[in-house]
Symmetry: C2
C-alpha cells in the first residue's frame, strides 16, 4: 500500500473548489480500483482476496494522505460493498460484487436520516412489499426521513443500500437493507429519487455527501439484502433471528469494519500530525537559555513536551489496540469462519470503545500539534489544517462517540448481569474483579502481570494495571448497583438512567482505558529487541501514567491514592517527558511515514516530483 500511495497525489491543493476536489478524489478512487487492491477484503468466492485484516490495514495507510480519498474509498468498498457482501446473498454477490470491487458500480450506504442518526432502529424510510407486482415500494414519508450526509450520493453514486422499515402484509418487521438504483448511467437521478447536495463541509470536501428522498420508488423483491431475513413472493416474512431487535443488531454488527477503519484512519492522522509537530519542535528555537545565551529548542521546554509527548505515547497505545482489534476482526470475519456470537459481540464492544477513544484522541492531538506549531501550523501548506478539518467528523460519524461509549457500557453491563445472577453483593463485587482481571486479560497476553503487585512503584506495569482495572471494576459494579433501582416496579427509568449517564460514560471510558493499556503492555512483552523493548516500556509508562494523572482525582476520591502519591504521578509524568525527549524523533520515525508524505515548508521537505504514472 505504501508503494502504491507514492503514486497518488497525497495532498489536495488547499485552494481547490469543492467540485475540483471531488473530481480529483473520484479519479483517485477509480485508479485505486484499477490496481485491484480493493478486492483484498472481499470473499474469494467472488474474486476477492479474503484478507479482511489486510484491507483495513491498507485502508489505514490512506490516512496519511488525502482523507477525502480515505473516506470515499471507505464508502465504496467498506460501507456499500461491505453491506452487499455481509447482508446480501449469492444473488447479490454474483450480480454486483465484481462491479463494486472494480469501481464500476459506485454506491452509497444510505442509513442515516435527517431525523435519525444515532437511533437508527427508528428510521422513517419505509419499504413496503407489494405482492401484486412482487416489488418493494421504497418511500420517504417526510423531511425527517430523508437520507442525509450520504457519501457518494451528491455526485457519483449509482446505487444505494437503503435502510428502511420493512413492511409486508401490513406489519412492520423493523429495519432492513435493500439495493435501490438512484442514478442512470448518464448520471441523472432516476424517477422518484430526489438527490440534493450537502454542499461544503468543514473538511472532507473531496467526498460528495448528499441527501436522498424516495417517492414510492419500486424495486424488485430480490433487491432485499436477504442474508438474515427474506420475504417470499406472496409476502410472507421469514428470518433466522426471531427477535426484531436482535436481528437488527446482528445486521449492524456485521458492518463493524467501518468503525474499525475509522479508528485506523484517525490513528494515521494523529501520527502524521505528531510527526510534523515533533520534528518542528526539534528545530524551532525560541527564547534564550540565560546561562549560554543560546536559543532553546522548543521541545526542550517541559510545557512543549507536555503538549506532545503524552499524546505521542497514547498514539502508540492506540496503535497496538487497533492492531488487536483488526486481528480479532480478521479472525471473526474471515470467509468461512464459524459464527461465534460471543466473539462477535466482544469485537463490537471493543470496536465501539477504541473508535470513540481513538477519534477523540486524534481530534485533541491534531489540535495540540497545530498549536505547537504556532502560526505556521495554521497555514494550509503545512498540512495540519487539512488533517484537523478532515478528521473532525470522525468523532460523530460511524457512531457518535458518546453513543458508542454508551454501547460499550451496555455491553459490559449485560455481560455483568448475565454472570452475577444469584451472587451476593460481596460475591458480585469479587466476581467483577475476577472477571475483569482474568477473562479479559487472558487474550491480551499480560496475564503474567496480574497478581504480582509487589511494590507500589508507579513505573511497575502490574501496579499500573491494577490501578486501571480496579477503577474499571469499581465504576462498573457501582453503576450496576445504581441502575438496579430502575428495575423496581414504577421506577422512573429515564430519570434513573439519565442521572447515572455521566457515571456510565466514565465506566465505559475506564474499560477502554484498561483495554488500550493491556494492548500496549502486551506489545511491550512480546518485543524481542532489548533496546526497542526498553524504549517502548518507557512510552507505555508515559501513556499509563498520563491516563492515571488525568483521572487521579478518582483514585484519591476512592482511597486508592494518598495525596502524596497523587502528586507523585504528576512528577513522574514530568520526569518521563524529560526522559523520552531525546527519543521523540525516533518515536515519530517509528510510525514509518515515508518522507515524501510529510513534505511541507515547515519541515523543509520538498514535495517529491509526481511519478510519471501518477494516479491523480
Amino acid at each position: 500500500m505504501r508503494e502504491q500511495m507514492g503514486q497518488i497525489r497525497l495532498h489536495p491543493d488547499p485552494d481547490l473548489s469543492t467540485d475540483e476536489h471531488r473530481e480529483r478524489v473520484t479519479d483517485g478512487m477509480f485508479q485505486i480500483a484499477q490496481s485491484g487492491r480493493p478486492r483484498t477484503g472481499f470473499d474469494p468466492a467472488h474474486g476477492g482476496g479474503g484478507d479482511v485484516g489486510g484491507v483495513v490495514t491498507a485502508f489505514q495507510m490512506l490516512g496519511y494522505g488525502d482523507l477525502s480519498l480515505l473516506v470515499k474509498a471507505g464508502v465504496q468498498w467498506g460501507l456499500f460493498g461491505g453491506a452487499v457482501q455481509e447482508l446480501g446473498t449469492a444473488r447479490h454477490h454474483d450480480r454486483y460484487l465484481r462491479a463494486i470491487m472494480d469501481g464500476d458500480l459506485p454506491g452509497c450506504f444510505a442509513m442515516t436520516e435527517t431525523g435519525h442518526g444515532s437511533d437508527v432502529q427508528n428510521l422513517g424510510t419505509t419499504a413496503t412489499y407489494d405482492p401484486a407486482t412482487q416489488e418493494f415500494v421504497v418511500h420517504t414519508p417526510g423531511p425527517s426521513a430523508r437520507k442525509d450526509y450520504i457519501g457518494n450520493a451528491a455526485r457519483d453514486g449509482r446505487m444505494a443500500v437503503v435502510f428502511a422499515q420493512l413492511i409486508t402484509g401490513g406489519r412492520s418487521h423493523g429495519v432492513h437493507a435493500l439495493l435501490v438504483p438512484i442514478r442512470s448511467g448518464s448520471g441523472a437521478a432516476l424517477p422518484g429519487v430526489t438527490i440534493t447536495d450537502c454542499g461544503r463541509k468543514a473538511g472532507l470536501n473531496g467526498v460528495d455527501n448528499g441527501r436522498l428522498a424516495f417517492d414510492h420508488v419500486r424495486v424488485p423483491r430480490e433487491a432485499l439484502l436477504n442474508r438474515f431475513a427474506d420475504v417470499a413472493p406472496d409476502g410472507t416474512y421469514s428470518s433466522s433471528i426471531e427477535n426484531e431487535t436482535r436481528r437488527f443488531f446482528t445486521m449492524l454488527g456485521t458492518l463493524v469494519r467501518g468503525r474499525i477503519s475509522v479508528a485506523g484512519g484517525a490513528g494515521s492522522a494523529a501520527q502524521k500530525a505528531l510527526a510534523i509537530a515533533v520534528r518542528y519542535g526539534e528545530t524551532r528555537r525560541q527564547f534564550s537559555d540565560p546561562a549560554t545565551g543560546e536559543e532553546v529548542v522548543v521541545l526542550d521546554y517541559l510545557a512543549h513536551q507536555r503538549k506532545l509527548l503524552p499524546a505521542l505515547a497514547t498514539t502508540y497505545a492506540l496503535h497496538f489496540a487497533q492492531e488487536e482489534l483488526v486481528s480479532a476482526m480478521h479472525d471473526v470475519q474471515a470467509p468461512g469462519a464459524a459464527s461465534d456470537e460471543d466473539a462477535q459481540r466482544a469485537l463490537e464492544t471493543k470496536a465501539a470503545g477504541v473508535k470513540a477513544v481513538g477519534t477523540w484522541h486524534a481530534t485533541a492531538t491534531i489540535q495540540a500539534c497545530r498549536e505547537a506549531c504556532g502560526g505556521a501550523g495554521y497555514l494550509a501548506e503545512n498540512l495540519l489544517p487539512q488533517l484537523k478539518a478532515d478528521t473532525d467528523v470522525f468523532t460523530t460519524f460511524e457512531g457518535d462517540n458518546t453513543v458508542l461509549l454508551q454501547l460499550v457500557a451496555k455491553g459490559l453491563l449485560s455481560e455483568y448481569g448475565a454472570r452475577v445472577k444469584g451472587l451476593s453483593p460481596l460475591g458480585m463485587a469479587r466476581f467483577v474483579g475476577d472477571q475483569v482481571a482474568g477473562a479479559v486479560v487472558e487474550r491480551s497476553g499480560v496475564q503474567a502481570l496480574v497478581g504480582q503487585v509487589r511494590h507500589r512503584d508507579l513505573r511497575d506495569r502490574a501496579y499500573q494495571r491494577r490501578l486501571l482495572a480496579d477503577r474499571e471494576e469499581h465504576l462498573l459494579a457501582s453503576l450496576a448497583r445504581r441502575l438496579r433501582a430502575a428495575l423496581a416496579p414504577g421506577a422512573d427509568q429515564f430519570g434513573i438512567f439519565n442521572a447515572a449517564q455521566n457515571h456510565l460514560l466514565r465506566a465505559a471510558r475506564a474499560h477502554v482505558d484498561r483495554v488500550v493499556f493491556d494492548a500496549f503492555a502486551a506489545a511491550v512483552e512480546r518485543t524481542g529487541d532489548a533496546g526497542v523493548r526498553a524504549l517502548l516500556a518507557q512510552v507505555c509508562d508515559l501513556h499509563a501514567l498520563s491516563v492515571i494523572e488525568a483521572e487521579r482525582a478518582w483514585f484519591v476520591e476512592h482511597g486508592r491514592f494518598t495525596a502524596a502519591r497523587s502528586r507523585a504521578v504528576t512528577a513522574a509524568v514530568n520526569e518521563l517527558c524529560g526522559a523520552l525527549r531525546p527519543h521523540a524523533r525516533t518515536l515519530v520515525d517509528g510510525f514509518g511515514i515515508p518522507e515524501g508524505w510529510l513534505a511541507c515548508p515547515l519541515l523543509g521537505i520538498e514535495a517529491p516530483a509526481p511519478p510519471a504514472h501518477a494516479l491523480t
Copy 2:
C-alpha cells in the same frame, strides 16, 4: 454596531475561493470605513471619537459575523492604526491618522518574523541609521528575519509598521517601530520590498496574510515612531526610558488593545456556537423514553447538558471578565489619562490571562458545539465549521497562549517578590493570602464575600471564592519558593525554571480562574432584578463548580477537600446542569445575537433578504 452589522453580509459563501473571499472582506472593510465608525477609538485631537472601550466593544460584535472581516478590521485600525497612534507622535498623527481611520491608507503590523514569533525582543530585521542621508536602512538579514503571517500584506497593505532592531552609531538600541511604505498606489511592491503570499489557511481566508522582506530599504529619519525614543539628525539616540527591556515592554504594552480585542472576538464566537448548539439541542430528539415511548429532546440528556451547560456558564463568566478588562483599558488608555504604570501593568497581566483562557475556552466550546450537532454541525451551511476554523488561530496569535500564561505568572511573581522582601516564610505565606484576598478583590466588588465562610455549602459564593483564592495563593507561594533556588550562585537556571514550568502555568491559570470568577461574582452582586440575579447566581455556581471540579484533584491532594467533598462537587455540577436545563434557551438568548445572524438550516432560520444598501 448591531444596526450596522445587519447591513453587512455576515456569512461568507463557504465555497468562495481565497481571492473572492479576500475581495469581499476588503470591500466590507472599506464600507465600514465609510461609516466613520472606526474613528470611535482614535484620539479626538485627530478626528477620532476618543472612545477606547466603545470601539473594542463594537469590534467584538464583528465576532458574530465573518471573522475574516473582524481580523482585517483589527489589523487596519487596531494593530496598524493603533501602533501609529500609540507609538508615533504628532508628525505621524497629522500625516497619517485620518487616512488610516478612513481606510485610505491600508496598512500592516509587521512584527512577527519566521524565526521569532513569541520572543519578539530578538527580532532579526534591522533599521540602521545613516546620518549622511538622514535615513534608516531597513533590512532583512536572512530568511528567519522575514516578516511572516502579516495581515493585509499579501494584497492590500500600502504601508507597514515594521519592528526592527534600531542601530545608530554602530550600536543597537533594541526593537523599535518604523513606518515603511511597501506598495505603490498601483499595488506593486516598492523597490527593495519582496512580498509573498502565505496562501490558504485553516480559516480567516478573507484576510491576506503575507511575508515581507526588505533589501536595504531606505526611509526618512521621521519614519521612526518616536513617542518613546528618537534619533537626532546626527544619529544621537535618546529615550525617555533608559532600560532597553523596559522600553521595549512599554512600547508593547501600549498595544494591549489587540489582545483584548481577540479575547472579545473569541467570546462572541463561543456565544454564537452555543446559541446554535443549545437551540438545536432543544429541538433535536433521539431515542425514546421507555415510559412514554416519546423521543427525548437531546438537551434533556445529562451527557448533552454536560457538553454544553458548563461551557455556557463559563462563557458568561468570561463575558463579565472581558467587560472589566475593556472598562479598565478604557480608563487607562483614555486620551489625556494620566500615565499610571501600575494600572497599565495590571491591565497587561489581566489581558494576557483573559485572552489565553478565553481563546482556549472558545476553541474547546466551539468543538463541543460542533460535536453536539453531529453531522449537521459539520456542514458549512450550519455556520459552526467557519467559526471553528476561523477562531483556531486565536490561541496562538496576538501572543501564544502558553507564553501569555507565563507572562501572567511572571507578573504575579514580580509583584510578589517586590512585596515579600524581608518577610519570614510564615509572614510571606500570610502576605500572599492577604494580597490576593484583599487588594485584588477590592476592585471587583466582591469584598463583602471575603471572610464570611460560615459553612461549607458548595453553592456558597464566599466558599467558592476561598477555594479558588486559596489555590491561587498556594500555587504562587510554592512556585516562588521553588524558583528561589535559581538565585543561588551557579544554579542551573534553565533547568530549575523548566522543571517548574508546569507548576508555573498552573499558578497562572489558577490566578486567571480566580479573576474570572470574581468578575462573575461581582456581576451577580450588582444585578438589580431579583429574577435575573437568581438565575445568574446559578450560572455562576455552575461556572465555579465546573472549574473546581476540573481541578478537584488539586483540592484533595492539598487537603482542601475530603474524598467525599470532592465527589460532591461532581454531584453538584450534575444537579446544576439539570436545574439550568430549562433556562438554557434564555441564557443563549441573553447574548442578544440578532436572529438573522444565526440563520442556518439547522435552526430552521432563513437568511434575511439583504438590505437594499447592503454593504457587501
